[in-house]
């Protein structure tokens, strides 16, 4: 514990101490601390171990860029893995655990790996693990990899709402540049959304301080935020803008303390990026030791939390930025030595020893830093702060397609103006320094008059680079353990493009996404390959800007809210009758009534066949096709012509895809010359309607034919079976004299009633449709009459048995992606029709004309029903599949199994015995006609 708590600096509440543990050791902090500030002020220095070599790691930074202080946090018995100590607020009772270290960070056993480091360079695993096979080593490697541990019992709730907003002006970042831009725009009357990832606006002003327009910066920040809200805009704090997508869409993650986090989709007409910049490290031997920290972070911790990094501090730099840090630390009572690589520097701050034209070449220490070597001179210290310049946070600019240019003056890659649909200001575009940031933001926000004024010049910076000739181990990526030697090795072996460098060495692929590593890596590669930085280029910037919880992106779509099925209007009535529900075709429907599924389905099917059954057919699609052009449209879109259908009649038909494949089947009712109702299978209504709609708009005159999907307008109840006519009479329904496949519009108790005599069961069947608000009354009437006629309610499992007995197909179950109508015995229209219809051409390809295509047949067997999905073997030649079982069940009517199958050349093989294969077991069956019951259809007229 080298850090300490200043007795008054910072904004923590010293009257509210908090207790927590780290790797089991008790620690304390204050309300207002983050985990990082509390650990810095009073916890151990070693917070974790690096990924590959398991070297000790300490706190580096202050925000999302933190590569080392990754912890598993347990609170109230629930653990969250991979928490950044820098971004999580401390609460009483938290238990923190270091990751990837056993038994703990201080005593990690695998730290011994570092002794073998010379044999474990970047990519070493590509060169070995081959002789015995990778899988021999993989379990061990997997256990050594990974950071935190997932808490298997912790199921975070799915309660993050997804919010959408359309915005006039989005300002990303509420530092001085962002505040100035937002204020200027708001004063001009624009509705501005100002977004910042910190809890308060201000950006770096919060720890650097400063006067704006002669007053403390807080007044300026307050004034700007008030201007924004007064003009109808919004200030979102604790909100990370993490992704730029097409057409001005941005994604943000809003963290809230006592409510669920929120996912924001912001569609912005105009965007100003003021995301600031992130400090770079310096590169010298053993720069990864705990105690080596970002200089800006040290200032941040002192000013905001009163947490001081150490007492004997050396600051290495090549620019003006750390002078404020040096001054503040000296004023706090530390012994501070500033080591500036430049020969011309600002004056030394009070109480600070300044060495010019000097660089740190090596840090010393076993598990934390204890000294440095500066130009050959040994300096004892307990903390090393470093500042190698600043990398502008250009991520969102690049995500939006923007290009970067290298600016030697600021030693940074900055956005090329005009290359992306957003404007970058402040440190994000290399304007380092308060006055420059304010001026840039003011202009970008369309500010009239002078910009907010502040003193202080633009920061001077001299370039710092990793030196390819440096001796010792110099770290580029501290989490993934990528050193300068690894970059050299990558260059030497030809992995020279920045993407190859990244993938070969894993530089920049850690959880900090290379915040402090990417620039160094590309600069080192540039130096090694003799190229400039622009020539070397950068890796692709992609969302997320910082890791975002999956729970925020996943939102509330969970459980019942995930792909919810459609619900029947009469669901309550069915439940009252004991229905058990299951999802069919996107609808929740009764599978059977009563508890034992297998028995219920058989009993219901038997009753329906012998007496009568009732079922709810409401989900069957009802698409009205209206107008003088209706018949023409249906003739084109369907395989079976409907223009010859007379009003008052119904006809079964198919819809094909362009490749001639059966897409859907169903009955079309013709109610008038210019009015049809197309029934589509419940799961296909939307797609059938779109196929009709596309033809309507593209091929026909939309003024002559229109489509209305009225599926949900009608409740349809079907009565089927020999006693169904009597049952309907007993329910007070006056049945008109309808032939099979006839339809009539009539009334029942003053209410419109449409009756279609259509059968899916093979027995006499009447589909009764009433407007849904009258469905309950119809259902009640049928229920009242039911028992007296020996009928029962029938679930879908029973309906599937009844139709299987008749060989009626279910599209998608008995057909697949190559089934054509002729395979189902419906070759007639193909042979007879001369007019053009959807899919016609595909029915005449050589493949479509083959006689040995898979065809729908029945299979007869004794004993247990055949398993659906079993294959039928070819009768000769090498063992291969000649087809498969598509539907199979026990028939209560025939008291034996029935099955449907698609078998090559099946219809010409009726009567033949075949071998059936199921998971290695063989059995036999006989090919029969698909229809197992009443092939003449006599029962339809019962």
């Amino acid at each position: 514990m080298t850090g300490w708590r200043h007795d008054s600096a910072g904004m923590v509440d010293r009257d509210r101490p908090l207790s927590f543990t780290f790797d089991g050791q008790p620690c304390t902090g204050f309300a207002g601390d983050t985990l990082a500030s509390a650990l810095l002020a009073g916890g151990p220095r070693i917070l974790g171990r690096s990924f590959k070599y398991h070297r000790p790691r300490g706190l580096w930074g202050m925000g999302g860029e933190e590569p080392n202080a990754i912890l598993d946090v347990t609170e109230n018995g629930r653990t969250l893995p991979n928490v950044r100590a820098t971004t999580m607020v401390l609460r009483d009772g938290m238990a923190l655990r270091s990751v990837n270290a056993a038994p703990d960070a201080a005593r990690d056993r695998l730290g011994l790996i570092d002794l073998a480091q010379r044999f474990l360079p970047a990519g070493f695993y590509y060169k070995t693990f081959m002789a015995l096979g990778w899988m021999r080593w993989e379990p061990m490697i997997r256990r050594m990899a990974g950071l935190g541990v997932l808490d298997a019992d912790h199921h975070p709730p799915a309660d993050a709402p997804s919010m959408t907003a359309e915005i006039d002006l989005l300002v990303i970042g509420a530092g001085p540049a962002g505040l100035a831009a937002a204020r200027a725009a708001a004063r001009a009357g624009r509705a501005v959304w100002l977004v910042d990832e910190a809890a308060e606006p201000g950006g770096a002003l919060r720890w650097r301080g400063g006067e704006i327009d002669g007053a403390p910066w807080q007044a300026f920040a307050r004034d700007s935020c008030q201007a924004v809200t007064a003009a109808g805009g919004r200030v979102l704090t604790d909100t990370v803008l993490w992704g730029a997508f097409d057409h001005g869409m941005f994604a943000a993650w809003e963290r809230r303390a006592d409510r669920p986090d929120r996912h924001w989709r912001l569609r912005a007409r105009e965007v100003i990026l003021a995301a600031g910049a992130i400090e770079r490290p310096l590169w010298f031997a053993n720069n990864d030791l705990p105690g080596v920290m970002s200089s800006e972070a040290a200032l941040h911790y002192l000013a905001l939390y009163g947490a001081v990094a150490g007492r004997r501090i050396v600051i290495g730099c090549a620019g003006d930025a750390p002078y404020a840090t040096a001054a503040a630390l000296a004023a706090a009572g530390c012994q501070v030595t500033l080591v500036d690589a430049r020969s011309e520097t600002p004056p030394a701050p009070e109480g600070v020893t300044l060495r010019r034209a000097a660089r740190i070449t090596r840090a010393h220490g076993h598990r934390e830093v204890g000294a440095v070597t500066v130009e050959g001179v040994h300096l004892d210290c307990d903390t090393v702060l470093v500042s190698g310049g600043f990398t502008p946070s250009v991520h969102l600019h690049c995500q939006a397609g923007g290009k970067l240019d290298f600016d030697p003056r600021t030693d940074a890659l900055i956005p090329r103006p005009g290359s992306a649909p957003l404007l970058t200001v402040g440190a994000a575009c290399g304007a380092f320094g308060l006055a420059a940031a304010l001026a840039g933001g003011h202009v970008a926000g369309g500010g009239a008059g002078p910009a907010p004024a502040a003193s202080g010049a633009v920061w001077g910076i001299a370039p710092s680079r990793p030196d390819p000739k440096a001796r010792g181990r110099v770290w580029i990526d501290p989490q993934n353990d990528v050193t300068l030697k690894d970059v050299k090795l990558a260059a030497q072996e030809g992995y020279r493009s920045v993407e190859h460098l990244k993938r070969y060495t894993t530089l920049g692929m850690a959880t900090d996404q290379g915040r402090s590593a990417n620039f160094a890596g590309l600069a080192a590669m540039a130096a090694l390959t003799g190229q400039t930085i622009p020539e070397t280029g950068t890796t692709t910037y992609r969302p997320p800007f910082t890791p975002v919880p999956l729970s925020v992106i996943g939102g509330m779509r969970r459980g019942e809210g995930f792909a919810p099925p459609r619900r029947l209007r009469l669901e309550a009535q069915h439940r009252a009758l004991g229905a058990r529900f299951r999802e069919y075709g996107g609808w929740l429907r009764p599978a059977h009534y009563g508890t034992d599924e297998a028995k219920a389905a058989q009993a219901e099917a038997r009753t329906a066949r012998q007496t009568a059954g009732l079922y709810d057919a409401s989900p069957l699609g009802k698409i009205e096709v209206l107008g003088p052009g209706a018949a023409e449209l249906l003739d084109f879109c369907g395989y079976v012509r409907m223009s010859t259908l007379k009003p008052g009649r119904a006809r079964y038909g198919f819809m094909l895809s362009e490749t001639g494949i059966v897409f859907d089947d169903g009955v079309v009712l013709r109610l008038a010359e210019d009015r049809f109702i197309v029934s589509a299978s419940s799961g296909h209504v939307g797609s059938v309607r779109m196929i009709l709609e596309e033809a309507r708009q593209d091929r026909f005159d939309p003024a002559r034919v229109v489509l209305h999907d009225v599926t949900a307008q009608w409740t349809t109840l079907t009565a089927t079976g020999p006693a169904s006519r009597a049952l309907l009479g007993g329910a007070g329904i006056d049945l008109p004299d309808l032939p099979h496949m006839g339809v009539a519009e009539t009334r029942w108790q003053g209410v419109p009633l449409r009756i279609a005599r259509v059968s899916f069961t093979g027995d006499a069947s009447w589909e009764l449709s009433v407007p849904a608000r009258h469905g309950a009354a119809l259902q009640a009437a049928l229920e009242t009459a039911r028992a007296g006629h020996g009928a029962c309610w029938v679930g879908l499992e029973a309906v599937m048995i009844l139709r299987a007995e008749k060989g009626f197909i279910l599209v998608g179950k008995d057909t697949d992606g190559i089934t054509m109508p002729q395979d189902l015995g419906w070759g007639g229209p193909r042979d007879r029709r001369q007019d053009e219809y959807f899919g016609r051409r595909s029915l005449f390809t050589p493949e479509a004309m083959r006689p040995d295509r898979r065809q729908l047949v029945g299979l007869e067997t004794s004993g247990a029903p055949l398993p659906t999905g079993a294959h039928v073997l070819a009768s000769d030649g090498p063992r291969r599949s000649a087809g498969f079982v598509t539907s199979s069940c026990h028939s209560p009517t025939l008291d034996r199994p029935v099955a449907l199958a698609m078998i090559e050349g099946g219809r010409s093989r009726i009567g033949q015995e075949v071998t059936v294969f199921h998971l290695g077991t063989l059995s036999t069956a006989r090919i029969t006609d698909a229809c197992a019951l009443d092939p003449e259809g006599a029962r339809l007229h019962g």
Partner: protein, 167 residues
């Protein structure tokens, strides 16, 4: 096979959800028809003077029409029109029970809107996705009125119930 427990239900007309600063009520449609084709002729014939409304437009007293597509709209009336079929240049289909109407009122209704509506303010069509479900969305006194097809109302209702707690 065990069915999954479905705790959500289609709301009955009159059902209400109450949250902090927001009230959500389900109402039945008094009367509605889908009309397609020559919409001007349709309205002149069926409900003269009914305005054609787009996304988030304010609904007046009935009758009014919510535009769905270039040549399709939902004509909302005080009572079922009882008309079906093709007329001269347009078609009518009864849709009195197609939709349930969900009204969202209260001080926090804008947050609900933000959490459910993806954008498209100013669209001439009232048809959009509301919390991922197809819906017709307009403004009514005090808030939003959302028409969702009855089979999907249970899903939307449950989502709104959870949303009120999460916002």
């Amino acid at each position: 096979m065990d069915e999954r427990d479905w705790t959500t239900r289609t709301p009955d007309p009159g059902a209400t959800l109450m949250g902090e600063g927001v009230t959500i009520r389900c109402a039945a449609e008094s009367g509605a028809s889908l009309v397609s084709g020559d919409l001007d002729a349709a309205i002149a014939s069926l409900a003269p003077g009914a305005p054609m409304l787009g996304l988030l437009d304010e609904v007046p007293e009935k009758p009014f029409a919510l535009r769905i597509a270039r040549d399709r709209a939902l004509l909302c009336t005080d009572a079922p029109l009882g008309q079906e079929g093709w007329r001269d240049g347009f078609a009518v289909s009864g849709a009195d029970d197609l939709f349930l109407v969900i009204e969202i009122t209260g001080a926090r209704r804008d947050e609900i809107r933000s959490a459910c509506l993806g954008g498209g303010v100013g669209s001439p069509s009232a048809a959009t996705l509301f919390a991922g479900q197809g819906a017709l969305v307009a403004t009514c006194p005090g808030g939003l009125c959302v028409r969702v097809e009855a089979p999907q109302a249970a899903a939307l209702w449950t989502h709104l119930d959870r949303l009120i707690a999460a916002l």
